[in-house]
Amino acid sequence: MTCEELGELLTNFLEGELNEEQTDLAVAHLATCPRCEAVLSQTQTLIESSRELGRVSLGSDHRSELLASILDARKP
């Protein structure tokens, strides 16, 4: 498997959607290619960071105000 081929299959690899043969080829390539290993590592860090830092957690006041506005808006 070439770097370009792995790059194209990276999302499928991370989603666990490669077949057994493709997975073996990808793992073998990653074991010997520092550049592709770095790309995989950066992508995994990106996903983990996005999950952790990307989500907005509204404060209780904000939540209450939003809910109140929704309940008010439904009144005729």
């Binding site: 999302t11 950066q42 996903i47 960071s49 999950r51 990307g54 907005v56 939003l66 439904r74």
Partner: protein, 190 residues
């Protein structure tokens, strides 16, 4: 996987327990709100990048959910269903912005929604990440937010965006590639 069909027809009468005005519907709405408001707000905010607009999107999403609550057949799909509504509302906001001349002086600064408790390193990455997500083209931004910020399964991302699963996967793939390129240094330091 979100498989329900949402019929956007007229609501039932108020005497009907399924109607938007019934106490049962309101109880369902509050439960839905408490469980999903952060996610719905995040989807809206990360697409339009304005807190006031995100509030409007959130309100509109749950109002529509209340009206069409009886059409939701599969409770396990309610998150994808809500995000689909939120995405459409966000697109409507962006279209109104495009059609309305805006004085640059009126554009608010990007809202910093990181809490005071966030560690310094995480705060810096959060700001870099937020800016990079904002710079993604809309189609990639929405897919990335749904998959990698909200953790929606790829099939549900496709449902929310009303596209095929292959298309959803391609958008996520391209978004990750662009973000990785822009944030290469920051991601390598972690």
């Amino acid at each position: 996987m979100a498989s329900m069909v949402v019929d956007m027809g007229a609501s039932a009468s108020t005497s009907d327990p399924r109607s938007p005005g019934s106490s049962k519907s309101l109880a369902q709405l509050v439960a839905l709100f408490n469980q999903h408001v952060n996610g719905v707000y995040t989807v809206g905010y990360r697409i339009v990048w304005n807190a006031a607009d995100a509030d409007d999107i959130t309100q509109a999403t749950f109002l529509q959910a209340l009206v069409h609550m009886d059409k939701l057949r599969d409770p396990s799909s309610e998150r994808a269903w809500l995000y689909r509504i939120a995405y459409r509302e966000a697109i409507a906001v962006l279209r109104r912005r495009r059609d309305t001349p805006v004085d640059p002086a009126d554009i608010p600064e990007q809202q910093n929604l990181v809490t005071p408790e966030t560690e310094v390193v995480a705060l810096e990455l959060a700001e870099l990440l937020g800016g990079a997500i904002e710079r993604l083209p809309l189609s990639l931004r929405a897919a990335f937010v749904l998959r990698d910020v909200e953790g929606l399964p790829m099939a549900d991302v496709a449902f929310a965006l009303d596209i095929g699963e292959s298309a959803a996967k391609m958008r996520v793939h391209r978004a990750r590639a662009q973000l990785r390129e822009e944030l290469k240094e920051a991601l390598s330091d972690l």
